[in-house]
């Protein structure tokens, strides 16, 4: 079960790094943090799950979307 979720995270991260549109990669990145929060919950680490969900999905997505709004959205 954990292996499937880890595979999902690796795929999400590769898409986040190599996609043309930065907004898609931000969404892919926040998806990976939600999945990693799920992994933490399954591995009996509730504290880290709440933190990863609040920070990874919540805060870093807000910051990345702010930077995209104020700079360019497409990569090259």
């Amino acid at each position: 079960m954990i292996t499937i979720l880890l595979l999902l995270i690796v795929i999400g991260s590769t898409y986040a790094l190599f996609s043309r549109d930065l907004l898609h990669s931000t969404i892919a990145l926040s998806m990976t943090s939600v999945v990693s929060a799920l992994i933490f919950y399954l591995l009996h680490a509730p504290d880290v799950a709440i933190t990863e969900a609040a920070v990874g999905a919540g805060l870093s997505t807000v910051i990345f979307i702010w930077i995209i709004k104020h700079t360019k959205r497409s990569d090259p």
């Binding site: 504290d47 709440i50 933190t51 609040a54 805060l59 910051i63 709004k69 104020h70």
Partner: protein, 236 residues
Amino acid sequence: MTKLMGIVSLLLLSAVLGPIIITEHPWSQNARDFLLHNGYRDTGASNLVSAIYLGYRAYDTIGETIVLLAAVTGAVFLIKGFGSSHQAPVPSYKRGAIRTNIISMTTGKLAPVVMLFGWYVMFFGHQSPGGGFQGGVVLASGMLFIALGREHHKRDSQLTKKRLHRIEVLSLWLILLLVCIPLTLGAAILENPLTKIGDSIPRVIYIIGFNMAIGLKVGSGLSILGLLMMDMQHDD
């Protein structure tokens, strides 16, 4: 050219990090067994992670709060810039006109629920999962919900940044106070002072105090950053 460098460095790194990460080693259990027996007795917190995070290794948590403080101060100073942020040409459509009723309605209604959850996570950090930092982040997102929820122009009346700055400085001083209180009772710095008073007062109060101070600090710091990022058009 850089792709070639990238591949070579990947090979080097996997040669070094591979044996550390991939080889099978039995995980040492003496730390867990020790905590199982006298984690509750020493710190009074039944959530062992909070016991470590705010009891045994509170010095790391102080360092971590200072990392957050330095990062928020640096980021706010850089984003506000030297008054140059206003020269950035802000096209008209960005002036918040796109905030439809749906956003105002939902975030307005959701804000109290999120804030309540934030306070709960902060206060019950020692028993249920959660604690100072997680509560602070949820509180900060609650503040952003409130800011989103109000109509564009009325937003600045209550949530002036001055009040948030005051909360942040107050909670920083509260943390410093909590660090130094044990000195007055003859205990070492960051030692649980209630162990000196005897068993009348439960020891967990010291951890709850830390949870509150750190939660306020993180919540106000990140709200300042979030509010600054949200309404880039006009600062206070």
